[in-house]
């Protein structure tokens, strides 16, 4: 089937890609903000229905995250600046753990008004986040590296021609 001719020139095509790129990240961070707002702002009497209330946002957020993750891994892409190694993975996991700890301390303290409980919950949540993030990053970094090696292999016809 013949492809329909684009109405855009090269510059407009790049602008559109940039707009779509920004839109994707607005959707990503917006969904995360909405999920967190629902967790914080849902009144106590509706709290038992919270999983059902945020199902839609959670599904879209997970689909978006999984698509971004798998598409990058398939193409052997990790990050513009960071290398997929243990040091950066640990640093990223600690940052994620720190963010979760801050959120949990504030959330638990304003909900239960007990600092020790808030610190305890935050500590456990942060530890679990660090471990899970580090494991996920280690596995995905390994898969990405393997894919990079596979994509960088010289194709047979190119080697034979020499």
């Amino acid at each position: 089937m013949k492809q329909k001719k684009s109405n855009l020139d090269e510059m407009q095509e790049q602008k559109l890609l940039k707009i779509e790129h920004n839109g994707c990240w607005i959707a990503f961070w917006g969904l995360l903000a909405v999920i967190l707002a629902q967790v914080v702002l849902t009144p106590d009497e509706l709290r038992e229905h919270l999983p059902r209330i945020m199902t839609g946002e959670w599904i879209v957020f997970m689909v978006l995250s999984l698509y971004l993750g798998f598409a990058c891994m398939k193409n052997g892409i990790w990050d513009r600046k960071l290398k997929p190694n243990a040091k950066t993975n640990l640093l990223a996991s600690l940052l994620a753990g720190g963010a979760v700890a801050v959120f949990q301390v504030l959330y638990s303290y304003f909900r239960f008004h007990r600092l020790v409980v808030a610190l305890g919950v935050a500590g456990v949540s942060a530890l679990i986040t660090v471990i899970l993030c580090f494991l996920t990053l280690t596995v995905t970094a390994r898969v990405t590296k393997k894919q990079q090696e596979k994509l960088e292999e010289e194709p047979k016809d190119s080697a034979e021609e020499q």
Binding site: G76, L151, E152, E153, E154, P155, S158, A159, E161, Q162
Partner: protein
């Protein structure tokens, strides 16, 4: 549109895609995709490739109008 001129020039210099990619500062995949006509490089990358292949932009990337129309 496949870039056979680039591929032939590379083979003429007995250079692998990996080696050309290293000299142009890109990945091997990018060189493979340019040769296969699946990726249009920027003028900056075209210049880097031409420098690595010791030739001019005309030698590798210029297409005569008739040729271009035929291939399309």
């Amino acid at each position: 549109m496949r870039n056979l001129k680039m591929k032939f020039r590379r083979i003429e210099l007995e250079m692998s895609q990996t080696e050309l990619a290293r000299r142009a500062g890109v990945t091997r995949q990018t060189i493979g995709m340019i040769e296969a006509g699946e990726f249009n490089p920027s003028i900056k990358l075209c210049v880097a490739i031409c420098r690595a292949l010791e030739c001019t932009l005309n030698d590798i990337f210029w297409e005569e109008k008739d040729n271009e129309a035929e291939k399309e």
